[in-house]
Amino acid sequence: MLWQYVPIAILLVLSTALAVLIVLLDALLGPRKPTFRKLSPYESGMVPIGPGMRRQPVRFYLIAMLFLLFDVEVIFLLPWAVTFRKLGLFGLVEMLVFIAILLVGYIYAWKKGALEWE
């Protein structure tokens, strides 16, 4: 059963190796002549305004929270989707009720303007 996961393992190893390799090659091959200008923070060629790390607007939190909640919904969909043909009409209705309840929250968020990005 573990052999099903070989592609994921290959992907993990390859991506890690590639990232390490790129950083390593850059450190080994790249010429290094640091000057004040090169080491100062870069912001599209302009003098940076304020610190690089500033507080993000609360909108990001809201989007992440909505994503998390619909992610949990997806997890409920998964076991149903595996066998939904066998479950028949009753299973379909059950899932529609489940989604309809969450749709109320989606419409609420939409009407509240939580999905708007100015």
């Binding site: 609360v58 949990v72 919904e73 997890i75 929250g105 989606y106 609420y108 100015e118």
Partner: protein, 176 residues
């Protein structure tokens, strides 16, 4: 043994990542360590043949919770604040408690007689995920908790929107 090898590698990665998550002063690095340790837990679930749990772990914890934690760090840190020491000053007591627990676990494992092992749990026939799906919508199964979970998610959704967005009215959508 492939299983043992995968377990050792996953457990080692998990432990190192968990230590990074606990000990790093840089909160963003700690969050990254947490993500890796959560992924290691998913690998352990796969080794235990709990495939649905593994998928849930990756989709919810590695996918969504990690993003939420990183966003929370970016939201709450004050501009120009120093990196604080995130280690709790009572850590020696925690170490003591963990040490006592480790000794107790070691004694328990040593006292366990393999000859008197419990009967092995019966293997669940068929596809576990499919059985879970059937149980979720079966009237004799978990259909009520399933629908109640939907209501719980709805409450969390409305609560999140209200807490984060409650002050403003829907003026943005009416202006257009």
């Amino acid at each position: 043994m492939v299983t043992t090898f995968v377990f050792v590698v996953a457990a080692a990665v998990l432990l190192v990542a968990a230590l990074i998550a606990v000990l790093k002063n840089n909160l963003v690095h700690a969050a990254m360590g947490l993500v890796v340790s959560l992924f290691g837990t998913a690998v352990l679930f796969v080794l235990l043949e709990a495939y649905f749990l593994a998928v849930a772990q990756v989709v919810i914890y590695v996918g969504a919770i990690a993003i939420l934690i990183v966003f929370s760090i970016m939201l709450t840190r004050r501009v120009g604040a120093q990196w604080g020491n995130q280690t709790n000053p009572t850590w020696p007591f925690a170490l003591l408690a963990a040490g006592v627990l480790t000794v107790l676990f070691a004694l328990m494992v040593r006292g366990w007689n393999p000859d008197q092992a419990l009967p092995a749990a019966e293997a669940v026939p068929g596809d576990v995920t499919a059985r879970l799906g059937a149980a979720l919508v079966n009237p004799g199964g978990y259909v009520v908790p399933f629908e109640v979970a939907s209501v719980l998610l709805l409450a969390a959704l409305i609560g999140a929107v209200y807490v984060a967005w409650g002050g403003r009215k829907a003026e943005k959508s009416t202006q257009r």
